[in-house]
Subunit: 291 residues, 2 copies
Amino acid sequence: MLYGSIEAGGTKFVCAIGNEDLEIVERVSYPTTTPEETMSSVIEFFSQYQEELVAIGVGSFGPIDIHKDSETYGYITSTPKLAWQNFDFVGTLKKSFDVPVAWTTDVNAAAYGEYVFGNGKGLSSVVYYTIGTGVGGGALQDGRFIEGFSHPEMGHMMIVPHSDDDFKGNCPFHGNCLEGMAAGPAIEKRSGRKGQDIPADDPIWAIEAEYIAQCAYNTTLMLSPDVIIFGGGVMKQRHMVEKVHQAFKRLLNNYVKTPSLDKYIVTPALEDNAGTLGCLALAKNAELHAH
Amino acid sequence: MLYGSIEAGGTKFVCAIGNEDLEIVERVSYPTTTPEETMSSVIEFFSQYQEELVAIGVGSFGPIDIHKDSETYGYITSTPKLAWQNFDFVGTLKKSFDVPVAWTTDVNAAAYGEYVFGNGKGLSSVVYYTIGTGVGGGALQDGRFIEGFSHPEMGHMMIVPHSDDDFKGNCPFHGNCLEGMAAGPAIEKRSGRKGQDIPADDPIWAIEAEYIAQCAYNTTLMLSPDVIIFGGGVMKQRHMVEKVHQAFKRLLNNYVKTPSLDKYIVTPALEDNAGTLGCLALAKNAELHAH
């Protein structure tokens, strides 16, 4: 029995095969070009395992349609990537593979991976953010994703500009929302350098930490989760977690008693595997619930 | 078979009895003084119905301890109302009434009332805010409250000051958080008048609407709920809903497609009964789950 995982990102698709214990047995990646091209590669990859493949879990860039009773369930909807607008992702998979397909956002899949295997293990309420070329967030409570009319778009929450920051923000919709101020491209526009080339003592990191701490603050007051996990490129700067803790403590001002910060605001235990492992776990769930 | 409801607020306790159809058959209210005094009145009231009383639902001011495995489950914890700090609310009720007690926050109870009987009926994800002497929020998804290390404290989310507003905010913890800028006392300090005495065309309402719209914006991006219900004194100004819709539309800038605003950002269908009806419905649930 094998499970399939597709992490469908804006620049690449990571496909993997997992065994019954959800161990990754093979992994490949393909550039995100057109649905025809990319999905052909994806289908060819999984076809090798067709006899043993019992379910596929997909974590996709969005926005996506998650409503099972909708005519466009399983579609990528209004993405700025024109070739992928209104693409029937789940339907395309189902044409080649007659197996249950779990369908959620890329950040929800990573949240789920951390919930099952990582820093959310054993906890009830888990929130996962990725801070990279964009900012995205997903949350779950007792294994169910937080959602309603659609999946959340937490990366676009409002933030208050830092007093030393005159950058106007570059979100095409909201200007200086969290993504507009704190994602990789905002760091690059502000400083003319890529984040990984900026030394740890540069003042830009205090500004960045302030915005991530505001995100953690709002998340704490809106969801009171058991853990907030920050993944993505920016948090690979190992000095950031401590800076975020300090800024968060100042903002919260002891208003509520959170779990201790070294367990509450963390980076992913699974590092870059959170999404793939989450998709495999979701595939296994989908298979169990199909019976 | 009768159900009891206690809406425990900072200025008064509203106690009610409901029948099997959750219709309110009697209601009284007592001022919030000390636990000894107020709870004696509460217990005396319910004692009249002791033979038929099968469960009690409580929606309390907070913070409260909601963790069933905690030693202080059922307590009001770190409230600024000193007499009520560390008061064992559920334990005190249980000493007089050997019935299941449902225990949640006042705003969660109101959210639940709207979910069962009001503007959240038939929907999966419901958020309720009250904007009055303070700002509080509660949310539920498929009948379960959103919570983790504790219940949310949504009223203290960050907001971005309106360009025409030089008020510094009066939250003792966070200064210019939502509660510090938009609750009744903030309106009064800013204008020297009570909200109900300020005419609908006063510019202060555009500022107030902007803050409530920011709250709706963040709620939309964090939870994507099916409905956001704004109760409390401020929203009794009937002109406010339309002002909030306009400001929300501008802030969201068509980033996500919400339900139509007249169904998405609304006032409570149950008006001031949301909390009492929510407590009765929670009591009925607690009784059903006790078997």
